[in-house]
Amino acid sequence: MKLLTKYIQSLCHLPLGRLGGALLLCFFVSCGTAAAQQPATPEQQAQLISEINAAAKDIQTLQCDFTQTKTLCIMNDKMVSQGAMTFAQPAKLRWRYTTPYDYTFIISDDKVHIAKGSKRNSIDIKSSQVFQEIVRLMAGSVTGRCLTQTKDFSVKMLIAEKSYIAVLTPKDKQLKKMFQTIRLTFDRARKIVTTVEMTEATGDATVIEFQHIQQNKPVSAKAFSLD
C-alpha cells in the first residue's frame, strides 16, 4: 500500500496520505475488475448471439464430463456431483451422474427415460407440457441456442478475456420463481458452453462445469437408451 501510494505520488506530485492511497487502490482494483467482464454493446451482442447460434448449428454431437456444485446456504454446505453428458442433434441428450449417486436422464425420440439405481421410468414428452419445456431448456442450454429463445429469457452478453458470458433472466412466471438468473459461459474460440450457473432467488447456486469437451465425434445410438 505504501509503495503504491509513493508511486502514484511520484506520478501526480500530490501528497495523498493513507486514505488517498486506499481510494486510488480501490479505483485501480475496480477498473481491473470491470475490465475482466465488459458488457457488450447492442451491436456486439447481436453479433455474438449470431456467431454462437451459427456455431450451435455446427454441433452434431457433444460429449464431455461435468462437475456439478450445488451451494446450499441454509446447510452452509456444498453438494458436488460428477458425471458425463452426451448430446446429439436435434435434441438427444444423455445426462448421467456417477458420483455420489447413480442417476441417468435420457431424452430421445419424444421420450424421457430416467434410471436411478434399479428403478426405471419413461415419460412421453408429448403428453407433458412441463417436460417439453424442460427438454427445450436443456438442449438449448447445452448448445447455446437458448440465447435466441427470447420469449423465455432476456439476454445480456458480457465479454471477458477468454470467454463470452450470457446472463439470462427468465421471463416465464414459473421459471422466475425458481431461478433469478442463468449464466452461460462460452469458450471464446470454440463458442461452446463450458459453464452453466443457475442462481435461485434464495441465493443458492448450481454451477455445472464441463470438462474434456469433444465435438462432432461419432456417438452410438445405444448411448440414448437405458439398455
Binding site: 441454509i74 453438494m79 456431483s81 455420489p100 442417476y103 414459473q174 434464495t202 448450481t206
Partner: protein
C-alpha cells in the same frame, strides 16, 4: 460427612449420563452430525426422487431436499419437535402440502421419539434405510444412505 460425600457421588454418577445423553435423530447416523440420503417420495403412480441432506446444529436439525439436478424441493429445520418447512418449490408451495410435510418430517427430524400414531409408520427395509408411510394419504418417504 463421609456418607454425604458418597450420596453426592452416587447422585452425580446417575445424573451425568442423562445430562450428556446424545439426541437420537433417525435421519442422523450415530456419531455423525450430518448425513446424505437418496430420497424418494411415492404417491400412487407419482414418484419424486432426489437427495436429502441433513446437518445437526446447536438448535436442532437443518435439512434440504433437492433433486439430482440440484433443484431444491424444500428446506426444513427442526428445533425440539417443531418442524418448519421453507423455500418450497413453487409447484409444491401450497399450505396443505407444507402442513403435511411438517407433520410427516416430525417423526424423522425431532430430537426425541415421536409417537407415530395411527396414520404413520416408520420402519427400515434395508440396512441404512428408512421408510416413512403416511397411511392416511398413501405417501411413502424412502431414504437410502449415500455412503461417503
Amino acid at each position: 460427612m463421609q456418607k454425604l460425600l458418597v450420596l453426592i457421588s452416587i447422585f452425580c454418577a446417575l445424573a451425568l449420563p442423562s445430562a450428556t445423553a446424545q439426541t437420537d435423530y433417525p435421519l442422523l447416523l450415530a456419531g455423525s452430525d450430518h448425513a446424505r440420503w437418496n430420497f424418494t417420495l411415492e404417491h400412487g403412480t407419482l414418484s419424486l426422487t432426489g437427495i436429502c441432506l441433513v446437518r445437526q446444529t446447536d438448535e436442532g436439525l437443518v435439512g434440504s431436499v433437492v433433486n439430482e439436478f440440484g433443484i431444491r424441493a424444500f428446506d426444513f429445520t427442526c428445533c425440539g419437535d417443531k418442524v418448519c418447512v421453507m423455500n418450497v418449490l413453487p409447484q409444491m408451495n401450497k399450505w396443505y402440502i407444507r402442513r403435511l410435510l411438517r407433520a410427516d418430517l416430525r417423526l424423522l427430524a425431532a430430537d426425541k421419539a415421536v409417537e407415530p400414531g395411527k396414520r404413520r409408520q416408520l420402519s427400515s427395509y434395508l440396512p441404512d434405510s428408512l421408510l416413512l408411510n403416511n397411511m392416511k394419504y398413501h405417501i411413502n418417504y424412502r431414504f437410502e444412505r449415500i455412503k461417503e
